[in-house]
Each structure stands twice: as C-alpha cells, then as structure tokens.
C-alpha cells in the first residue's frame, strides 16, 4: 500500500472498509456541523413544524402574506442585532450590552438637535448618528476586552449599565418622537412590496454571511475564537481583530436602533430591553458555539425566525402569557433535541 493511500483514508479507517463507509458519511460530523447543513436541517424542520402548527391552529390568518411580513418585520430588528452577536460569539466573546447600545443609539439619533439637522438637510444625519454611537460603544467594549483584558461578560455588563444610564440622562427618560417625515417615509416604506426594514435585515444577514464565510476577516474570526493562541502565532493581530468584532456588533446595534426608530417612530431609553438574552438565544439555538470558533449566520437567522414565529403563533392563538412561557421553554428543548437527532442521523 502506498503512502498516499494510507493517509487519504485519513487516520484509522482501513481502505476497504473506508470505501464502504465513505458514502454513508462523506464528511465527519464536525465538518457537517460547520457546513451548517446538518444543523440547519434540524432548524428548518423545527421552523416548518411551527408553521404547520400555525396553519393548523390559525390557518386563515397565519398563512397570509401580511402575516408573513409581520413575522419578518418583527424578526428584522433582533435579527440584525443577532448577526452582530454571531460575530462576537464566534470570535470567542459575548456582548451583553446590545440592548443598551440600541437604546442609546436610538436616543442620541432622536435628540432635538439631530432631528433638527435631519429635518434641515437629510435623514442621513440621524442614521449616521445612530451608527456612530453604536460603533463607538462597540469600540469601548472592544478596547476593554482586548487591551484592558477584562472578561467580555463583565466589560459588556458594565457597558450595559452605563449606556442605558446615559440614554436615560440624554433623553431625560422621555420617549422622543420622531418628527422628520422623510425618515419615516423612507424606513416605513416598501420596496417591491417588501418593507424596507426587511430589506435591511436581508442585506445585513447577507453581508454578514459573506463577511463570515468568504473573507479573510471571517476566517480570522473563526481562528481567534477557536484558538486565540494559534491565531496569534500565525501572525494575526488578535487584539485588533477582537476590537473590530465588538465594533461590528455595535454597528449592528446602531442599524437596529434605526430600524426600531422607524418601527416605533420614537427613540427611547427603554428600547431594546433584554435584547442581549434574545440575541444570544437565537445565536446559540442557531448552532453557534457559545465558546467560540464555530458560528453560522444562516443558523442565527433561523434561530431568530423560530422565536418570532413562535410568538406570532402564540398571539394568533390568543394563548395566555404564562402558558406561552411554559410552552416556549418546552418548545426550545424539543427543537434542540430534534436538531441534534437530525444532525446525528444525517451523519451516521
């Protein structure tokens, strides 16, 4: 047997056996997980099951185009936040401050001064304020984590408290109503029948996917999250990269703030409450490893859709909030178990 053969069958499996077992499992399990297919299969099934329940229990309303758009619109804001969160978690971090950053960005972008500027010139001033505030908060997070060496959980927890407090101070705890019509018109509008908000979500998700899976930046994110020391030894500037990841998450929060402003026509320090939990839940359910090194944007999008569809189905069925909670817990568990089963089956 030649050298070549021996390794091709990679590792321990003898060649004869291999040719037998090969087709059954073309890739190893880990590989499959990464490709996202096996894992996403479970998510798809979970989502489809949810939809079936939706159709069965509230068919007339659930399956309408308007309702689908409602679900997507609801998914859009938290979806954008979750995309940013996917990057941070894949890179081995966590960001608890997303909700607070959304609040701060929304407040800052709707102050009288900013609105005046937007009214006088263009709504782009509001948007860029929100993005800048988000990115700046993210930058602080990133610096604290990468250079201050504060564990991400604590650093972003501190940001959570500070950003929300700052938002309250700036807004004086008032809900700031947006009076710039051009802003509302643009973001409240539709494009080819699909609301602008949904377009933004799609765009962010697509850009996130490309960035994570098709660029050097994405590869390095996996490396930093999977084995920071190896990444450092390979000459990657781990600290700088970490900062970039948090800035990215902050930027996503800025975008989400703009979307939320459009949805609610307000900026408020109460926006984005508990987004951190929602986003992390969506990311983790989607199959991104909480410990870093493995992440999937597609999974995250599915995670977000599952949660929003769940809420929608519950509401359509007029379920009591308490029963919703209990059911939600049970459904999460079942969905994850199902995923695992499917992922396992599809590989063995």
């Amino acid at each position: 047997m030649s050298e070549a053969n021996r390794i091709e069958e990679g590792g321990t499996t003898p060649s004869k056996q291999d040719t037998v077992t090969q087709p059954a499992r073309p890739r190893s399990r880990t590989d499959l997980l990464r490709s996202g297919f096996g894992r996403n299969l479970g998510l798809v099934v979970a989502l489809v099951l949810l939809c079936i329940v939706g159709v069965a229990t509230a068919g007339d309303t659930f399956a309408t185009g308007a309702n689908v758009l409602t679900i997507l619109r609801l998914a859009a804001v938290i979806g954008v936040v979750s995309v940013g969160m996917t990057f941070v978690i894949t890179g081995g971090g966590i960001d608890l401050s997303v909700g607070a950053m959304v609040a701060l960005a929304s407040v800052w972008a709707t102050t009288l001064a900013t609105q005046q500027l937007a009214a006088d010139y263009h709504w782009i001033f509001m948007v860029s304020t929100a993005l800048a505030v988000g990115a700046a908060c993210g930058l602080v997070n990133g610096l604290l984590v990468a250079y201050g060496k504060i564990v991400p959980f604590v650093a972003t927890l501190a940001m959570l408290a500070s950003a929300r407090g700052l938002a309250e101070i700036i807004s004086d705890r008032k809900t700031q109503i947006i009076t710039v019509n051009s802003f509302e018109d643009f973001f409240g509008g539709s494009l080819i029948g699909v609301p602008v908000l949904i377009w933004i979500f799609l765009l962010v998700a697509a850009a996130g996917w490309v960035l994570l899976n098709r660029t050097t930046f994405g590869r390095r994110t996996f490396a930093v999250g999977g084995n920071a020391e190896a990444a450092r030894l390979a000459g990657i500037k781990v600290q700088r990269h970490t900062v970039a990841l948090y800035v990215l998450a902050g930027l996503c929060c800025g975008i989400a703030a703009v979307m939320l402003m459009a949805r609610t026509t307000t900026g408020s320090s109460t926006h984005g409450q508990l987004y951190e939990l929602d986003a992390i839940a969506a990311v983790v359910i989607g199959g991104t490893l909480l410990s870093g090194g493995r992440g999937t944007i597609v999974g995250t999008v599915f995670g977000v859709l599952i949660f929003t569809t769940l809420n929608n189905v519950f509401t359509l069925n007029n379920l009591s909030i308490s029963a919703q909670s209990v059911a939600k817990g049970a459904i999460i568990v079942v969905a994850v178990l199902l995923q695992q089963r499917l992922a396992r089956r599809s590989t063995s």
Partner: protein, 500 residues
Amino acid sequence: MTDLLNMMGIVKEFPGVRALDGVDLDVRAGEVHCLLGQNGAGKSTLIRVLTGAHQPDAGMIRINDEPVQLNSPTAAIQRGIAAIYQELDLVPDLTVAENIFLGHEPTRYGFSRTHEANTKARSILQGLGHPEIPTNRSVGSLPAAGQQVVSMARALSRNARLIVMDEPSAVLDPEEVSNLFRVIRGLTESGVAVVYISHRLEEIREIGDRVTVLKDGATVATGLDARETPTKELIQLMTGRSIEYVFPPRNEMPDAAPVVLDVVDLSRPGEFAGIGFEVRAGEIVGLAGLVGSGRSEVLETVYGARRAATGFVRVDGAVLRPGRVQDAVKAGVGLAPEERKSQALLLDEAVFKNITVSTLGRFASSGFLNSRAEREAAGKLALELDVRPPGVDQPVRNLSGGNQQKVVLARWLLRDCRVLLLDEPTRGVDVGARSEIYALIRELASNGVAIVLVSSEVPEVLGLSDRVVVLREGRAVHTGPAQEIDEHQVLDLVMEGSAG
C-alpha cells in the same frame, strides 16, 4: 559559511522559574541544526523566543548579522522564521487549507480566494507527500498525524528562510519520519535552515548536521557534529550522567499467572474488527501498527471510553459493561491516553491534583480530602519520575511537554491498577526519563499488573513487551511472543500484511 541566525545570552524568566538562563544558538543557512536537551531544558521556550511568541528578558538575536527585535509572531514571520510548535497550533474548526494559510490568506479585496487557497494547499501537501489530505476538511477531524502534516505545510507555506520543528516526529511512524526527512533535505538544499528538536537520537544522527545541547536553560555544548559525536557523550551532556539506553531485562512469566484482562472479539465498525487478546498478570502485551491502524481505538474501547459494537472485555473474569469508563476504573483498569492535553490533563490544575484525580477516594474520608496526603503521595511519584521542576503545586500548563506526559503516567501509577493501558507512554519524553519509565513499566509488571502498551516506536514495543499483537487496518495480523519477531518483520507486517 556565515551564520543565518545568532542567539546570544537569551534569558527568559517565568514567575518562579528561569526557563532560559543565557542560551546561545548559531544556525547556518542550509543546515539542519539539532537541539537536544532533557524535558524542561528550555528547548520549546527558546523556540518561542525565536518566533516572537515570548519576549526574552535579556539577550540578543541577530539575523544575517543584523540585530533584530522579534516582539511579535508577525515580526518573526516577516524575517522568514516559521515554526511547527510542539503543541499543535491549529484551529480545529477551520479547514486544512484555511489553517495552512492562516494569517496570509490568498485574497482579493479582502475576500478569501478559497479555490486558490485549496490549489496552493494541495500543491504544498503534495510536496510533503500527502496529496490525499482533503484540503477542505476541517482539521479537527484529522488524526494526529494528519494534523502534524498540516502544521508542517503551514510552516512551508511561508517560504521561510528558517524553519523550526519542535518534536515533529512524536506522532509520526517510521515511514512518515523518513518522508519528513526527505522534505527537510529538499529544504536545506535550497538554502533553508532547519532547527530540529527531537528526543530520538537515531533521528538526530540521520538528519542532523550540527547539535546544540541545552541543560537547565543554558547551552552546555554547541556545534557538535551530529553524526560523529558519540551517543554517550550527548547523553552525558544532556543529563549530566551516563545512562544505559537499553531495555531492562524481561521478567520470568510464571506459567500459572492468571489472565487478568480478556478481550474477546471486539469491534467497532469503521475502526477495527475482531480484536481479541488476553493479558496475564505480570505480562506486557504490545500493540504494534502504523498510525491510524486503530490501536488507540482498541485501547479506548477496552477502557469503555468508546462503546464496542460487538465483543466484550473481561477483567478478572468479570465482564465490563460496554461504554462505561467508571466500571473499568472500578475494576482496576487505567488508561494513559494518547493526546495528553485534550484527553488527560487538567491544564490549569496543580500537578498533584492531576496525579490524584483518579485516586481521590484514597485521600478522602467521608468525602473530605486530605490534601497534605495528596501532595505527599504525588510528590513522591513526581520525584520518582523526575518531573521538573519538582514542585507539585504549579499548574501542569507550565510544565514542558515531556514532563506533562510523566504527570499522566504518575496518575495511574498511583492507582495500583490491575490493568494498565498505555498509549504512547514515552511520547516526548527524554532519554533519561525514558529509561526510567521503561524500568517502571517492567517493575509494575513484575508486581503483577497486566499491561497493554501502544507505541509508534517498534523497538520500544519489541523491547518491552512479552507478546506483541500487530494491527493493520483495524485487524490483528499477527500475535506472538515479542522475542520471536524483529523490527523488520513487524514493519513488513504492518505494511504488507504478510508475515515475513
């Protein structure tokens, strides 16, 4: 010939340890420069200083007679220094190609050019003699040997002038090693310098040009001729004493010794099939085979870490429930696994806690631990095995690779096992400690422990075992007394499957 690299008076301190205490190293272009030294002598630390992973506390580094500051891995990479680290520095979830080009990915406008990366990776792997490793497979799913190849490919991908290899052969079998040497020769012919670290003196003889010996963080000899310097002298330099590098004599096996471990018709689809052997009290059975032949899997299945598809394992006549490690441990089976970092060590825990983790019950009364007793027991073993530095309170993470291996062994030595399964027990262990481990294994056997030994070094298997089982592609192709077979026959067996 001018020196490509001069390192002078390098000092590196860790809190409480002076790992390097004035090391000198000169490397010429186009040579294979071997670094020798006991476990903990400072070889890996020196390498990490050279690659910018550690900052030296004192000393000077010159490349082509030009003083340089290597204050980050990037700086070293830019100066043409690449390394294969002792502890594999791969990202398990990235593909082979992505790992190879990590840090210098082929890109266009920031987008990774996967196709180009794959093509380039394939050609590098081809050059290494492994065109068959799929470049789009995640590295985590490759066996250790495959990962080692990827690590090598990564070093080559940088077009470096100086490549450092820290124990690259530890997980490779003989044929792989000769393949590696072919690659190294190719490199040196084109003027690349190689710094080669290994505990196997035969390899140094075969590939090395010059040798530098480290002892206790200082250079004790440099510029020795790799081929001519007598082994005795090298060992004397490294250890400060002379060691007979031979296997201790076999014990007489009393015929009446009872069968302790009985493995019957064990199989796991895709890994191995129909494996059966028995080990009597006081007997050492060696499993020989190439990397990937399924030896580790057999051991892990016997131990219950993997669940057998068919067959069963008996210890002292009682069948172990399959897939239950606790049962095996309770029955007195111990496993020193192959991958010490991921499978055996609690890296952040103190040495003594690592040693006693499987024996906690012994140091506890109604659940409360007596850590003084723990320290004493662990300390005694650490002394016996010459773990350096000798304190048992430091975290295992700070130990050198070989010393970590000794800690793993100590764990099971403490446990008075009935059956000991040793998977590559001497991987990365220096000559001095190695002969001590051999003696220890023998001594254990003479105390009635049944031992199964897996090693990629055929002489080791043959020299230590009473009987050998040769595995090929997950099947036993030969079983017989170790004295009746020699290295060439074993190699023939594992390659061809036909008894020579």
